[in-house]
Symmetry: C2
Subunit: 336 residues, 2 copies
DNA sequence: TTGTAGGCGTTATCAC
DNA sequence: GTGATAACGCCTACAA
């Protein structure tokens, strides 16, 4: 399966040199502009290149330069608008910086060592989402000298970290809900799902405690629409409804919206509802979702630039960037 | 500036050989399992590898084997659920086949020659979306012997093509609308935007003509939500409303939904509305969107496998796969 | 079973 | 200015 030798054209620098009647060193010089070449020779080489449609091999170049001009990003999954938007921001910044982009999805499982090392050997640096590569493996990568940026999780020794602020928004959300009379707060979440999700829950609890309000009820529920639809359905079937159902992310809130429809519960009249992320659908659904806007593209973009700084050596010390988020009040919370 | 930091670890096969007291050929053998090695030697090599935490360099390997075990996919843009879903399907299939994934977005412009060639020199094959690389460049890539699959556009000599069927669905959609009494059909589209979009328009026209129905009114409008919101707003402001507004894609339909709200037009009572693609939001909005389901993941997945077949030589001749689509009737068309 | 040596396509350091 | 030539890290006949 490996061979099946499809031999590709492969015009090499030797053929160009040959055609132009010069040495490969000279060809390399005009290609890189690394030293003066007589105008005449220069011209001949250029012609040979054009005639032979020569493109230098990235492989040879990378081997000689010991750099790939490429970096990778590892996702836990590719499903949904969140990761897509992060990728969009990442790709944009990376290509701006002249680096190719390799992606890998671990499909919601910890990536195996082999796969990660393979990827690592193709790039100059790696961005790792939370829930993709375990701590020990990250440490090993860092130890090998590979520039690493972790995304959506707390810092790791020797690696940069980029996260979105969850605490400030959790606080703002709680303030808003409390100020408008909501008392019984139920939360759809799974604090163990990821670092981000845990921070949101912790932030909610802390904010509530800070105001001397009764603690929220945690309804443990996987971070996806279907699970949320079920869990919310259970809540909506109760005799005593909570004032508000706070969801750990928008896809859960979207599922809850469907559950409300099923149960003939009016949002926000019977129960208020909030999400988190501000995905595109949040503003299209009715009632439009009150949510917390995450700077998804910026997360990706910042990860790319941080990685680049580390690769080029522009920055030596690790940083932890916390990007600001914003409470977006629409109609689902009932207090527009 | 410590060259320990700049220069990455770089444990080479030589160091392993050295430590195990064997030649690099032997190390390579145990690594690849390409020939018998005495159990004793085998053991020593394995230990050396472990102790040195050696990982073979993809570069050296790729250069020697003249294969990257990676392939690339080029998108016109990364925005929105359509491309994300295709990518998801692509990544899944490609990683299943043991190939790394390189992505490139041309940001809605034709990719320049240099960028494409650079990407091409990093991979064993390329998937090219419509509207990313011009015909001449595709021909050149094919001519160089690079396996190429075009996605969402008609076939190119020497390359595989994968598309979703647009004609059958256009026909089904027209049948459905006509059968339920809709006569005045307005279409929000921009036939020049892409091959896919043109096919949809052509298919609509053909189906209408086939039924002897009056032709649809084309309202030219860019393929995005904001443009559609404006254009639909204009339509909804008319004295005489069409029976149905058919949009070339769901994001346009979503924009039209907002325009209807702005204009206090009831969908589907005053005007029926349809989309195309069946993105996730289509089922969440109210009224839920009648649309055409595109097998987005399968498009990506099939492109990946087709490319792999070509790369490994499992298939010699080019194919054009047309994936089936499906009319999804919800409530926005008013004839549920 | 194991080692030697040439090759893969560049870059870069020497001499000339 | 240019041309040999040694890396770069690996694979693989060909020998031993």
């Amino acid at each position: 399966m490996t061979d099946a030798g499809v031999r590709r054209s492969g015009v090499t620098i030797y053929q160009v040199a040959n055609r132009a009647g010069v040495s490969i060193a000279t060809v390399s010089r005009v290609l890189r502009g690394t030293a003066r070449v007589s105008p005449d020779t220069h011209q001949r080489v250029l012609e040979a290149i054009k005639e032979l449609r020569y493109t230098p091999s990235r492989l040879g170049r990378a081997l000689a330069e010991r750099r790939h001009a490429a970096n990778g990003i590892v996702f836990p999954e590719l499903f949904g608008p969140y990761y897509s938007e992060v990728l969009l921001g990442y790709e944009e910044a990376a290509s701006e910086l002249g680096r190719s982009v390799l992606i890998l999805s671990t499909h919601m499982a910890a990536a195996d060592r082999e796969t990660v090392l393979d990827l690592a050997s193709r790039v100059d640096g790696l961005v790792l989402f939370d829930q993709t590569v375990d701590e020990a493996m990250i440490a090993e990568l860092v130890d090998r000298g590979l520039p690493v940026v972790v995304l959506g999780r707390g810092p790791v020794e020797g690696a940069d970290a980029v996260t979105a602020d969850n605490l400030v928004s959790a606080h703002a959300l709680v303030e808003h809900l409390l100020d408008h009379g909501h008392r019984r707060i139920a939360v759809l979440s799974d604090p163990n799902a990821s670092s981000d999700i845990r921070e949101r829950w912790d932030g909610l609890c802390a904010a509530l405690a800070g105001r001397g309000a009764p603690p929220a009820e945690l309804i443990t529920c996987a971070i996806d629409e279907d699970a949320a639809r079920l869990a919310a359905g259970e809540v909506f079937g109760r005799d005593e409804l909570p004032d508000v159902l706070v969801c750990a992310c928008d896809s859960q809130a979207l599922g809850a919206l469907l559950a409300a429809e099923d149960a003939r519960i009016s949002i926000p009249d019977d129960v208020a509802l909030t999400g988190w992320d501000d995905v595109m659908a949040a503003k299209y659904v009715r009632p439009a979702l009150t949510t917390v806007r995450q700077p998804m593209r910026e997360l990706g973009g910042r990860a790319a630039t941080a990685l680049d700084e580390r690769i080029t050596g522009a920055r030596e010390t690790a940083v932890h960037d916390v990007l600001p988020t914003e409470l977006v009040i629409r109609t689902s919370c009932g207090v527009h």
